[in-house]
């Protein structure tokens, strides 16, 4: 039982943050919709990736130029590398990081952090601060092995935004994603605490039941003990009765001795031998009487001892009763805690 309670205590440390994934704290469907609507509204492409760089949402509002870049094997690699670098920098800063991607577009990386640990990154952008120089554009197209003219043409689809606008948009995504995931994380922690509390309360309830059961067992045992001890008293009383009987026989024997001595004395010389026997009889009766006295002393001690035991037994019984009452009080308090825990659990689910 003690072991169980200890293991229950260790659960109290809460949620293991190293195992939390983005999907644990953010509803991905909701994130997808938010990301899509945001991308459409602001005119920025975006996608959310896990810490390994694997996308967890579908890309929102990707421009054609980027799709072409991704279609080339080296372009795709360069994109991944570019995203990785941007993501790392964002984690290092602990806030959104706006940078120029390998293909010359403006991108941002907004980290989603739980107590400083990265659980995902929102990548976005695919815009320009100023229209891209054609020569630079063609050079990139050649590097990644795509059609130069087509590449230059689709680059015009990239929105021209100010740096402030890109930063603000990145910030919005950063704030919303982080506060959502942190709220959810706190809620997970709360749930864990509530679960621990609930487990603890159940443990206490179970322990209290055991205690109450053992208290009643002890009480029953004590009652039996008291009964047995009272039996001893009854038996001792019977011994005393027998002793009274023996004493009576001793008295009668003594009288016999006295009368025999009188008869012997009256018989004169002839009664001398009989007189000795009469004396012996009196001695014997005196011994018997003394023995009876000793036994009675012993039975008196037994009686006192039994009385003491009975009194102590009564004290034990009253202590047990007090304990039982205390257990009842504790049980009531635990039940209160249990119902509070249930309420808390409800609140934690709703929050």
């Amino acid at each position: 039982m003690a072991k169980d309670m200890q293991s229950a205590k260790s659960v109290g440390s809460g949620v293991d943050i190293s195992k939390i994934k983005l999907s644990d704290v953010i509803d991905i469907d909701f994130l997808q919709k938010f990301q899509d609507d945001f991308a459409t509204g602001v005119g920025l492409a975006s996608v959310t990736v896990d810490p390994e760089g694997t996308p967890v949402t579908k890309p929102s509002s990707y421009i054609r130029r980027c799709n072409i870049t991704h279609s080339s094997e080296s372009g795709d690699k360069r994109c991944a590398e570019s995203h990785r670098k941007g993501g790392e920098e964002a984690v290092r800063l602990g806030r959104p990081y706006v940078f120029e991607c390998h293909s010359g577009l403006t991108d941002f990386a907004a980290p989603i952090l739980l107590e400083g640990r990265l659980i995902g990154t929102i990548l976005g952008g695919q815009v320009l601060f100023t229209p891209m120089e054609e020569e630079k554009n063609r050079k990139i197209a050649r590097e990644i092995g795509v059609d130069e003219d087509e590449y230059v043409k689709v680059t015009q689809e990239a929105k021209i935004l100010t740096k402030e606008a890109v930063e603000a948009a990145a910030n919005v995504l950063f704030i919303v994603a982080n506060s959502m995931s942190n709220d959810a994380y706190q809620q997970l922690k709360l749930k864990s605490v509530v679960d621990t509390l609930s487990d603890g309360a159940h443990q206490i309830s179970a322990t209290m039941e055991e205690l109450a059961a053992s208290a009643s067992t002890v009480s029953a045992n004590q009652a039996n003990l008291n009964k047995e001890i009272k039996n001893v008293n009854t038996v001792t009383g019977k011994i005393d009765e027998v002793m009274d009987f023996i004493k009576d026989i001793a008295d009668e024997t003594r009288l016999l001795g006295l009368n025999a001595a009188i008869e012997a004395a009256r018989a004169g010389e002839a009664g001398l031998g009989f007189g000795v026997v009469a004396q012996e009889i009196r001695n014997l009766s005196a011994d018997s009487k003394q023995t009876v006295g000793k036994i009675k002393e012993l039975t008196t001690i037994i009686k006192e001892s039994v009385d003491n035991t009975v009194r102590m037994g009564a004290e034990t019984t009253s202590t047990i009763e007090q304990q039982a009452a205390a257990i009842e009080e504790v049980t009531a308090s635990v039940q209160e805690i249990s119902s509070l825990t249930e309420l808390l659990s409800e609140l934690a689910k709703k929050a």
Binding site: D251, E252, L255, L258, N259, A261, I262, A265, R266, A278
Partner: protein, 152 residues
């Protein structure tokens, strides 16, 4: 010469009476003493011993002592005096002893008067002093006649 005495207790004192004047000893608690109306106060009553009526003298009353509380140890000494069956109730019969004449002093002279005739002498056994009663004088004439007339 020596004398054998039945020694008994009345209160703290020890008394003795010659064995030849004693017929036997009974346990008082085994008998019911029935009061006899019209007899002197020293006669406690009568008991039935093996079908014979015996009159019981109370020696406490006779010697003008405060009566002792009844105990389990009270004894009745049946006397072998006179014609009537008489006996006396005592606190306890303590002993039967043999006393040499050297250990018996006669009753002192200053004990004159009516009480002196009960006392035959004072016996000594070590530190113990035993008042030896004269069996023939235990019953006064009045008492004896009161009993005798009843015994008829």
């Amino acid at each position: 010469m020596s004398t054998q005495l039945v020694v008994f207790a009345l209160g703290k004192e020890e008394y003795g009476i010659d064995v030849s004047a004693v017929n036997g000893i009974l346990r008082a608690k085994k008998f019911t003493i029935t009061n006899v109306p019209g007899t002197p106060k020293v006669i406690e009553g009568m008991i039935n011993v093996r079908g014979k009526v015996n009159y019981v003298l109370n020696l406490h009353s006779k010697f003008g002592r405060e009566p002792n509380e009844e105990t389990e140890e009270n004894k009745i000494i049946m006397l072998n005096v006179g014609d009537a069956n008489t006996c006396c109730i005592v606190d306890e019969v303590t002993d039967i002893v043999k006393l040499e004449d050297d250990n018996i002093e006669l009753a002192p002279l200053f004990l004159s008067g009516i009480n002196s005739k009960y006392i035959q002498g004072i016996g000594q056994i070590g530190e113990r002093m035993i008042i030896i009663l004269n069996p023939a004088e235990i019953l006064t004439f009045e008492e004896y006649s009161a009993i005798d007339s009843k015994a008829g």
